[in-house]
């Protein structure tokens, strides 16, 4: 048989699938092994985790942006198949992107570490795959590990998805054992795509990546019809038209093709420079005689978490702006606008999909653009209804209204925690303390439990994950998805220095947590802010009511050391340093505060995370 070519591949030989796995459960290694098993990558070109392109991905061992690779595969039945492996992001913040990747597939490999069992995020994605009617192929990985317990975890998986224990494949991506059988199973069990090759073109965008040389590279799954080189295309949600400068497949390097037919997976290049013009979940059709109805499931990316990003060196502000402008090209979910803080100077208020998204953006800004940044405590999106009937959306505590507030609502999430049964008590205590309400609990096996809660997103964003990890010795895993809003008794706590509010430390909190926050922040600042020539009170306040107070006593003496001949140079250098330090002081009213103190106060907060 001849090799099926892109644009001319019968859908009967196509198998589109993804791998659902927890971080570190070996997804990238398995993908590497598949590349080798299908002879797509010569052994000498093989580098570890071939499909993870970004350095951060390689170092953190996680996949941020999905990609799709076309694997030509000669099956045991003698037919030459085309396997499209669609990689999925592995974190809760990117659940929408995961859902679009799943929508591009007919099958999913559920990959679980045979020494650890299924984790909460994997479970959430598995449920999503099942809801999308994907054919799930359960696989235990790392069976070569001495600590592997394949029988136990096979039983667990069988219980969750309702299959037979013997249906759970056992693989070592590291040694390659079982990979051949897995590929055969994919060919046998994953359905071929069902699309109408004669209908007007409809392609689902499941990823969109900015490339410095090529502009935006859009990854699509052709659902109906076909797209060809030089076609004029229409993005159905943004209603923009472009010319297809290039169509191709990744195999495993980008390879141009005449076109893509129904059921195929590949990439499009139109020359646009901003991923916002080519959005994940959107439908691509032809601009003339195109489809009337777009594929279902598109939604605009919606930030869930906001944080201020400030350069530690104020002169790097323009650099930060340029860097954000560049990152935005590759990140449709990132939004930002300029923000000025008394404590931190000029920066940007940024919206993120979640905490990991925030961390990734911040890390990329620091690593790829050489910026040194401080971020303010993350905030969720609050709706505030005033007594006079007006309402507003608050994403920054400093914008919280000071007038009569009738009601404040906050986003809540449906959270899933999976942990050893021994920790059920401590997890319940934690969720209780973080205003959670129990939805249900299931034993996955005799000693592993799945707990389902609703929790305020703000509690998750604050330090829930760390608290969970530390109370369960790292054994618990967490997943959550937005679940609407609820009204809560929320207040804004201000931190005042000599009567002046310090904007970066204002926080919106549940009334029960306000006092603890006020006390902690006031005492932390007292430690960090140097004594002034006069006494400085630090107060925490809700409105005009003071709930905590600390005092920085007046400085009465600085160093009165000797200053003789040999001391003069050293003393002068010390004073020159102090003089330089004074230039970087921030004035809060009359109080002079080194920016380092504010940064340290915020960092201590972040270190806990």
């Amino acid at each position: 048989m001849t090799e099926p070519l892109p644009g001319a591949t019968p859908s009967g030989v196509i198998r589109n699938f993804c791998i659902i796995a927890h971080i570190d459960h070996g997804k990238s290694t398995l993908a590497d092994r598949m590349l080798q098993a299908t002879d797509l990558v010569a052994d000498r070109d093989m580098r570890s985790q071939y499909l993870d392109r970004m350095d951060i991905e390689r170092e953190r061992g996680i996949t941020i942006k999905s990609q799709a690779v076309r694997l030509p595969y000669q099956a045991e039945d003698g037919v030459r198949y085309v396997l499209n492996l669609i990689d999925t992001p592995g974190h809760v913040d990117f659940s929408y992107e995961v859902s679009r990747s799943l929508a591009a597939c007919e099958g999913a490999v559920l990959l679980v570490d045979a020494a650890q069992g299924i984790e909460a995020q994997t479970l959430a994605n598995l449920y999503m795959a099942l809801e999308n009617d994907l054919q799930v192929i359960p696989v235990l990985n790392k069976i070569d590990l001495p600590a592997a317990q394949p029988d136990k975890y096979a039983a667990e998986i069988a219980h969750i998805i309702g299959c037979d224990i013997d249906d759970v494949l056992r693989v070592s991506a590291k040694t390659g054992e079982g990979v051949a059988e897995l590929l055969e199973t994919i060919v046998r069990d994953v359905p071929a795509p069902l699309g109408d090759s004669e209908a007007p073109a409809r392609a689902l965008i499941f990823d969109s990546v900015y490339d410095t040389y090529r502009g935006v590279v859009t990854y699509v799954r052709m659902v109906d019809g076909a797209l060809s080189h030089r076609d004029k295309i229409l993005m159905m949600s943004t209603e923009t038209t472009h010319e297809l400068l290039e169509v191709g497949v990744i195999s495993p390097e980008p390879t141009a093709a005449p076109g893509l037919g129904a059921g195929e997976v590949g990439y499009l290049i139109t020359g646009v420079k901003d991923v916002r013009q080519s959005r994940v979940g959107d439908t691509v059709t032809t601009s003339s005689a195109g489809a009337v109805e777009s594929l279902s499931g598109y939604r605009d990316p919606r930030p869930m978490v906001y944080s201020g990003l400030f350069p530690i060196d104020g002169s790097e502000y323009p650099g930060l702006r340029d860097a954000l402008d560049k990152l935005k090209l590759n990140d449709a979910a990132l939004i930002y606008e300029p923000e000025t803080s008394v404590a931190l100077g000029f920066g940007f208020r940024c919206g993120f999909l979640g905490l990991l998204h925030l961390e990734i953006v911040r890390e990329r800004l620091e690593r790829e653009f050489g910026l040194d940044l401080i971020s303010t405590a993350p905030s969720v999106v609050y709706s505030v209804l005033m007594d006079d009937g007006s309402d507003l959306v608050v994403t920054n505590p400093s914008e919280f209204p000071s007038g009569k507030v009738a009601e404040v609502t906050e986003p809540i999430v449906k959270a899933t925690v999976i942990a050893p049964a021994d920790y059920v008590g401590t997890i319940m205590e934690l969720c209780q303390a973080r205003r959670g309400s129990l939805l249900g609990m299931d034993y996955l096996s005799t000693d592993r439990v799945e707990l389902r809660y609703t929790l305020p997103l703000a509690e998750i964003v604050y330090d829930f994950f760390d608290a969970l990890k530390s109370r369960t010795k790292g054994y618990a895993s967490l997943d959550y998805e937005p679940d609407g809003e609820q009204a809560s008794d929320l207040v804004k706590v201000d931190i005042l220095l000599h009567g002046e509010p310090v904007d970066a430390f204002s926080a919106i909190l549940h009334r029960d947590s306000a006092y603890a926050y006020g006390v902690a922040m006031a005492s932390r600042l007292r430690e960090l802010i140097p004594r002034q020539q006069y006494e400085v009170p630090i107060q925490a306040a809700i409105g005009s009511r003071i709930i905590a107070r600390e005092t920085i006593r007046a400085m009465r003496k600085d160093v009165l050391a000797k200053c003789y001949g040999g001391d003069i140079s050293r003393k002068r250098k010390l004073l020159e340093k102090q003089k330089e330090g004074k230039k970087r002081m921030k004035m809060v009213g009359r109080v002079e505060v080194p920016q380092e103190a504010f940064i340290a106060a915020l960092s201590t907060d972040q270190d806990r995370k």
Binding site: Q533, Y534, R553, M555, R556, K557, D558, V559, L560, A561, K562, C563, Y564, G565, G566, I568, S569, K571, R572, L574, L575, E576, Q578, K579, K582
Partner: protein
Amino acid sequence: MGRTVGSAPLPVSGRVSDTGRMESVLTRREPVRSLGMYVHVPYCSSRCGYCDFNTYVPGEAGHGSRESWRQAAIDEVSLAARELSPDRRVDTVFFGGGTPTLLPTSDLGAVLDEIDQQLGLASNAEITVEANPETISGEKLQELLDCGINRLSLGMQSADQQVLNLLDRVHSPGTAVAAAQEALAAGVSLVSLDLIYGTPGEDLRSWRSTLAAALDAGVGHISAYGLKVEPGTALHRRVRRGEVPRVDQDYSAAAYDATDEILSAAGLNWYEISNWSLAGHECRHNLNYWRGGDWWGIGPGAHSHLAGSRWWNHRSPQRWAAALQEGKSPRAGEEQLTEDQLLTELVMLHIRLVQGLDPADLGQNRNHITAKAEQLRELGLLSVGEPLTLTLAGRRLADRVTVELLEHA
């Protein structure tokens, strides 16, 4: 700079000039800048836990031999004589350390003779030697007087045995007072006691007793320093390990105020932040530092300053001596002060003195420094009027005042 103005005429004893006339350094008009010689003796019998000076105890690496110190010091005097203009006379000599009195007095005398022969000592030169009380005896005092020393600075530190223990000082509380009295009786007319306040465990009662004991000795000069725990010292390590509490800055402030009150009442007035004396007993050698005068530092690690140019010697006695023996420069580094640095030093040093900072010396920076001074007056840190002088509260916050004055300079 290099002006020599003072508050009171200063009777000078010691080497009487050829004419036998007493002359005051503070009223004298000199054709050239005053010149001091600092001689560093890097040896101690044991190391005190708080001390970060360049000193060596027997057996320590880099110690070198005393013989080589003597020869190298003499060689460096010759080096100075070659570099300095021949019309300069040495106004003050200061043997510091370390413990200079650990050396045979003949070694100090040999260096002093070399200075006189090569450079020429002014007829009224002030010649100081630092000493630990336990090294002083009647015999030693006579030797020191015989070789020309006319000022003695004794490290007393405290009259509180517990404080001395914490500082690792080997003498007992009465020794320093007795040594000072003996020196005065032997004819050393200028005797100073060095004190340290703010040692953890000390309280105001203990400190007041120390001050009273020092005054009882009858000395005309007292230096009192707030203890500073320097990195690299044994005391620093002990504080870091939590064995010894940190120096309490509020206590130190109270101790400073008590010092000023008690010493002033006894007629010893402050003339520099950490120095109090009877009129005329000011240390001329140190005044020369604060007034930006010239000085040459002989010895390992010693710093020198000549008209805006500064350098310092190798810290290791062996390395310093070896360089001189080989006819090479013992310098380890140098700096040429920029205009900015000169201004910083002028403000930093002059503000420490009772005469204060004269706006006339500030050149183009005069206006904004005097404007800043106004703000500091409002905070009670500077006195009203000019020159700019520190109040008692200002003396305690002298670093802060300096930085504020220089803020926009």
